[in-house]
């Protein structure tokens, strides 16, 4: 078994803080799995073992839970995870064409990662942006009203600019169209990896 010291002191401190928030230790499992992803980019066996050790459960129990949820990526994914919604409202407004354009530009079919490990494309169910269909997320930051050409530009921009932080408002300005509601409040917080930017995870910009 791998000892928890594989994680940085900072991450371990975050883990302890998370565990303390819950009446029962095991409830911290989901946030700890995100921490494990943030440490290594995806969820590795060693990461799951560390989580198991921190919570006092077995690695098999951790795997059983991790495998239930689609956002815990147990295979390496690219630095930028492009999730295209193809559920009903987006489907009605052209999500299939948008996905095809993004796949074509990225050079990989949905579910796969490009050879540079820069971009992973996936087709996902509703991401709660149906009024701004078709919608896409990059590292779980939303952009709404994306037409196929803008989808291509998004891929080209990620390749060229290689942004450190993915910020929803920037994506929306550059590639978005109609939104389902007035976003109104711009902010510069965003994601630094293919997992949701939610403190105490790797959130950049203004710490939340």
């Amino acid at each position: 078994m791998t000892a928890p010291h594989r994680w940085s002191e900072e991450t371990l401190a975050r883990a302890r803080d998370l565990i303390a928030r819950y009446p029962e230790r095991r409830s911290a499992l989901m946030p700890l799995l995100y921490l494990a992803m943030a440490e290594e980019g995806h969820l590795t066996e060693a990461g799951m073992e560390t989580v198991a050790e921190l919570l006092g459960i077995t690695p098999a129990q951790v795997l059983s839970v991790a495998s239930f949820y689609t956002m815990y990526k147990r295979e390496p994914v690219g630095r930028y995870l492009i999730s295209c919604c193809t559920s009903i409202s987006c489907h009605l407004l052209g999500s299939d064409e948008l996905l095809a354009a993004i796949e074509d530009e990225a050079g990989v079919p949905a579910g796969e990662t490009d050879p540079d490990r820069l971009i992973t494309v996936e087709s996902v169910e509703c991401i709660g942006a149906c009024g701004g269909a078709p919608a896409v997320q990059v590292n779980y930051e939303t952009v709404e009203g994306v037409d196929p050409e803008a989808g291509r530009e998004l891929v080209r921009w990620l390749r060229k600019a290689r942004p450190e932080v993915i910020v929803a408002d920037e994506l929306q300005t550059l590639f978005g169209g109609r939104t389902g509601f007035d976003w109104a409040i711009p902010d510069d917080e965003g994601a630094v990896g293919p997992y949701p930017a939610f403190g105490p995870l790797g959130t950049a910009g203004r710490e939340s």
Partner: protein, 431 residues
């Protein structure tokens, strides 16, 4: 037709800073939470009962009645359901991003009413930004002593934890959500017990309410039960957030009283259909709901009861509008695919049946359907949801399985000719 704004009032009046604690307090915020501490459980439960508030998470269960079921054992917990994943639904996201303090104040009120000292908000994993906005609001509230120890200078303690999900629609079902929050797979629990109010998180009495339900609480305290009732329909009080999407000119979240008609919602509020298009059908309450068609349902009043009598539901408030360019076989397949993907796999009819429905619809859509396929579809559907009854007769642990049948029963009822045309022409007649 104007909106009746309650939970979307502040964001409309103060778009730039409705999310800040400064704006929230400058517009009367947190005064009702203070009052709730003086009122105590009995008066609060009575008030919410009298207000007629129905849960906004889909099942439209009376909120005050749910609270009155809370078992006496302590500790008790409050869990706010912000898992919003029903295709077509995006209202809770707007409430989280644009007015998170309204939710925090509602949480304080609900906690006091249910003698809760530890509350959780379960936010779907894809809602990173909404979760950040909420987290910041929670921290601001801690900073001012509105959360934490001795809130508002009283001797009442309240901790609030924002918990992020990880991409599983089924975790919106309240018992699956509790399993997930306990660090287990998000599988729904066998019923009984029917209500987490008896046995919920860690086996303790637990109240689970939706974001919009909780966001209404400060307004109920402010307006009083009568004032809140007056805003809405006698059977369905207060306002309701409709998430309108699909082929309308003005998709959006609209806060309206119950009792308007579908015609008003689709053609006036949402601006009608795009140039030169006509209305083919719509989903009145999220992907789980059976569909409506103009010939039968356009002038129906939008209330829980009228929608139920017509064989569907208002559910999560998601209205998905489809115009005459829509292939209903593809649309139905897309929805069934969702349920097949999101089935947790515990019940055979749901796990197997949804995949079969998806496959058969797919083959019809691709032009490889056979004459008998409509009967096969209905037969499989009947195995998941006996007699295709509405509301469904439950053969599964949770309603997800029967929900997958809704689009199938809808298209076989209203669009049989279009299905047959796919089969006879070996492809989509609309292409």
């Amino acid at each position: 037709m104007n909106e009746t704004r309650l939970v979307t009032r502040r964001m409309a009046d103060h778009p730039a800073d409705s999310h800040t604690i400064e704006r929230y307090e400058a517009t009367g915020g947190y005064s009702q939470a203070r009052r709730s501490l003086q009122m105590g459980r009995e008066r609060l439960v009575e008030l919410v009962k009298e207000s007629g508030l129905l849960g906004r998470g889909g099942a439209a269960f009376p909120a005050g009645m749910k609270w009155s079921f809370l078992a006496p054992a302590r500790p008790a917990y409050l869990v706010v359901n912000a898992d919003e994943s029903e295709p077509g639904t995006y209202k809770d996201r707007q409430l989280l991003e644009r007015d998170p303090h309204q939710l925090v104040e509602g949480i304080i009120i609900a906690a006091v009413a249910n003698e809760v000292h530890h509350a959780f908000v379960y936010v779907r994993g894809e809602y990173a930004r909404p979760a950040r906005r909420l987290q910041r609001a929670v921290e601001e509230a801690y900073g001012r002593g509105y959360l934490g120890k001795d809130i508002f200078g009283s001797d009442y303690d309240l901790e609030v934890v924002v918990h992020l999900g990880a991409g599983a629609y089924i975790c919106g079902e309240e018992t699956a959500l509790l399993n997930s929050l306990e660090g287990h797979r998000g599988e729904p629990r066998l019923k009984p017990p029917y209500f987490p109010a008896a046995t919920g998180l860690y086996g303790k009495p637990t109240i689970v309410n939706n974001v919009e339900t909780i966001s209404n609480l400060p307004h109920i305290l402010e307006l009083g039960a009568d004032g809140f009732r007056k805003l809405g329909h006698p059977e369905d009080t207060g306002t309701f957030l409709f998430s309108v999407s699909g082929h309308v000119r003005k998709p959006g979240n609209y806060e309206l009283p119950h009792g308007i008609t579908w015609r008003e919602l689709i053609f006036e509020v949402a601006g009608g259909l795009r140039e030169g298009r006509t209305l083919k059908c719509w989903i009145p309450g999220g992907a789980s709901a059976p569909w409506f068609v103009p010939a039968d349902h356009l002038d129906l009043e939008i209330t829980k009861d009228a929608t139920g009598r017509a064989g569907s539901m208002l559910g999560s408030g998601a209205v998905v509008v489809m115009d005459d360019t829509t292939c209903v076989v593809r649309a139905a397949q897309r929805i069934v695919r969702f349920f097949a993907h999101e089935s947790c796999g515990q019940c055979t009819p749901c796990r197997e049946g949804t995949s079969w429905l998806e496959m058969i619809l797919g083959r019809i859509e691709e032009g490889a359907g056979r004459e008998v396929d409509v009967d096969v579809l209905l037969d499989v559907a009947d195995n998941i949801s006996v007699g295709l009854a509405w509301p469904p007769r439950m053969t599964t642990i949770c309603p997800l399985g029967p929900s997958a049948v809704s689009p199938v029963s809808s298209i076989t009822r209203y669009f049989k000719d279009e299905i047959m045309a796919h089969i006879h022409q070996a492809g989509c007649p609309l292409r």
